[in-house]
Amino acid sequence: MKKHLFYLIPVFLLLSLSVFGTGNKEAAAGPPWKTVGTNEFGWQVPEKTLEINFYDATQQSPDYAKDTTEEIGAYILQKFNVKLTKIAYDMDPSEQQSLMLASNNYPEVIAGMTPDDAQKWVAQGRVMDVAPYLDTYGPIIKKKLAPLYKRLVDAKGRVYVMPQYWGMLPIPDQSAHIRWDWWQAMGAPKFETPDEYFEVIKKMQQLHPKNARGERTYGISGYDHFKDILPVLVGFWGLKDGYKEGADKSLTHWINTPEGLAMTKFMNRFYREDLLDPDAFINNYEQWKAKFSDERIVGHVGAWWVTTDAGHETWAKSNPNWTEDMRYLPVKLKAAEAKQAYLSPKNTTGDTRTIVTDHCTQIQNLLRWWNFEISDTGTRLIGWGIPNQPDSVWTFKNGTWAFTDQAVKAMLSSTFDYDHAENVLGQVAFVMVAGQGLMDDGKSTIWFDQNFNDQDKWRKLMNTSLRDTEYDFSAFLSVVFPPDDPVTVTKKQVEDLLLTGWPDAVMAPTEQQCEQRFMALRDTLNNAGLKNVEAFLTKGYKQNLAAWGEQ
């Protein structure tokens, strides 16, 4: 018996070698890829439909995902013979991904992930390394991502995580906002510092104490617990994304800085002078938007697209007497004691990541598609939506592209229909690896509405006002908190305590009490481990700077 087994062992070995050998050849050459010609976009159309399913981890509603992908999905299938299916869930993306991992039920691609979530998948060995395939199947990917490559590659030369919306878009995002027509009517009083802005807003609210429906107005409000607004507020005092950067690149959370106290006192003034919306810390975005669109909130701090959406784009549709002056203009504020205002942190690696999971059976063909998507033509198609239709925003004929006159006109007159662009033309519905930096002409970008900054007078005004407020903070924004590290839990505890305690300091009846509450909150956060979070971020930040050769 033993003798027979002895003879069987080499046979098994040979068999297994031949099986693995075939597998390796398959991995190198990839699954069959026969094409039936090249389409007008330069894509070699496969004979057999290429199917790509991807989960968009940005918490989109399934209905929205279906609506926005239906038309462009059909177009891509018809023109490219590529069937793209976007999977979306309403639930928290991190929770969804944990369920996917636990059930082993997930598609071949996951896009729109936070760097922290992407790392979870890598740590579990669920992600495929794309590096070996890039030379053969993704030459454009490799060329486009060359400046970022050392951020993506690990010590063993593997590339597990791809960037999404990478690249530098040199356009400011965040700032304070002023109601243009009301400000002009006041004689456009100058303001540069937060305190001067406060005085203007106070005066403006006094001039407009009630809206057209007789409801009272407020100087300022907020939504989603000020999570996105807080870093902008401390940016007026020269902090970067909520942290003070020392000369040695060490990072200190704003609560541990005098600038953080000054910002809290600034907000406290709004409360004490009855200018703060009492729902400011309770509102969700929709509730805030309803008040803002009803002209009940005079000032704002945050992203320009927020007041655009809730302000003149809403009024243009709902108010027959709307004039283009009825709008908010993003404006820079800088505290007198700050050297510079840092308002719009930019992550040139992109804020979100995309991975190929171990469920992918044709990584070579997937990379063929990504190679097209990341090209300038591909980015235009995916970013600007279906071309060459009567309602398209761009045309692409004989290798030449152009914006349509009607789209440009609508854009410049603030009457552009964003819903149509998303739902019918499918703008940015299928982004997996495309970037947002400037393309071959040095001007155009994936975001259609960002292509007219040199023509649109309002955007010109905004860009002039906010010049030098955006800054590259990629090394900070790319620090990953490992899921199994206690500092990750500490970070969440600190964030939760901050969101609970800060409103209390803002809503103090006196400035003295505001300061007392601020100091108490500082102690609470430090006792909860904030110093550990600061140390972790500082270490990661410095490591990234050193590894990327930017220190």
Binding site: S94, S98, A102, H225, D279, F281, V489, P503
Partner: protein, 311 residues
């Protein structure tokens, strides 16, 4: 040869099984249901002792013993999370437990049949309204620009609106009365059915003995539903560490977090949402264990004091 003492019993058991086979057959699906959905998933509790990572097999995960239990007990959040859970549950027992009994007694005293039915139906309806809708109703009522503040301002009882939803100290009462509003009618059904089971001749005898309506409630109705009350109280005590979930997440906000965060919401946020399943499982396990101990304690106490028990 001596007979095995088990033999006759086994024979009796089999004879019993054979005689009651229809009943056992009817019960079989429920045994299977309990086994599959209640007992089989219990093996998952083992992850509370393991360094389990979602997606990796449970078998093979490193043993960490009581690490996650200790982490919860020593967490800086433990104090207020446990306090909120106990206070909200205690308010639920002190106010929420007797309220449906009182409602059932009041409904039982109504004489007009159609009026009684209408009141009953109206009181059940909130049970069928989801917490999402309930939360919107509460926002409309108690928001800074809600109906209540509007009335208070118009009546000049306050100068500024009261921030009911953003002030922590109001939250316990808010959630208690929201739970009460949603559950009082529904919970009263079981007491109404218990009241319906009381022999009407007792009331006739009470009337002959000169009892008025309050007397009848005190001496006939309440003793008649005593067993139901005690059994439900024992179960209520067992769930003292389950102080709600949806309602907290919908009605709470960061401003009221130090008053609304209870064990279930905390385990969800710091366990499930962060992908730390073992932590969530450990907190849940601890909660169930305490619940079980409380049920048995309350049961023991009830047996000693009132000679009523569920097991």
């Amino acid at each position: 040869m001596a007979m095995s003492p088990l033999r006759p019993r086994r024979g009796r058991g089999l004879r019993l099984l054979s005689r009651e086979r229809e009943l056992w057959l009817l019960s079989l699906p429920f045994f299977i249901w309990v086994a599959v959905f209640a007992y089989y998933p219990m093996y998952g509790l083992s992850i509370s002792f393991l360094a389990y990572v979602p997606g990796k097999p449970i078998v093979g995960s490193a043993w960490v013993g009581l690490k996650f239990f200790i982490e919860f007990l020593t967490s800086p959040d433990f104090g207020y999370v446990m306090r909120n859970t106990l206070v909200i549950s205690a308010l639920g027992i002190v106010i929420g437990f007797p309220a449906p009994i009182v409602l059932a007694l009041l409904l039982n005293e109504l004489r007009g049949r159609s009026f009684k039915k209408t009141i009953q139906t109206v009181s059940y309806l909130p049970h069928f309204i989801s917490w999402v809708v309930t939360a919107s109703l509460i926002f409309t009522l108690l928001g800074n620009e809600g109906v209540v503040n509007d009335i208070l301002l118009r009546a000049r009882l306050v100068v500024k609106p009261i921030n009911f939803l953003g002030t922590g100290r109001y939250f316990w009462w808010l959630i208690t009365f929201a739970n009460l509003w949603k559950g009082i009618g529904w919970s009263s059904i079981i007491y109404l059915s218990a009241i319906a089971g009381i022999d009407p001749e007792l009331y006739q005898a009470g009337a002959v003995d000169g009892l008025n309506r309050f007397g009848m409630i005190r001496h006939i109705t309440l003793p008649g539903i005593r067993i139901t009350m005690v059994l439900l109280l024992i179960l209520e005590i067992g769930s003292i560490l389950s102080a709600g979930f949806e309602q907290q997440l919908l009605l709470g906000n960061p401003q009221t977090r130090l008053y609304y965060e209870v064990i279930d919401t905390y385990a969800y946020k710091y366990g499930v949402q962060m992908g730390r399943y073992p932590y969530g499982a450990a907190v849940g396990f601890m909660q169930s264990l305490v619940g079980l101990i409380l049920v048995f304690s309350a049961n023991w106490l009830s047996r000693k004091a009132l000679d009523i028990s569920i097991v």
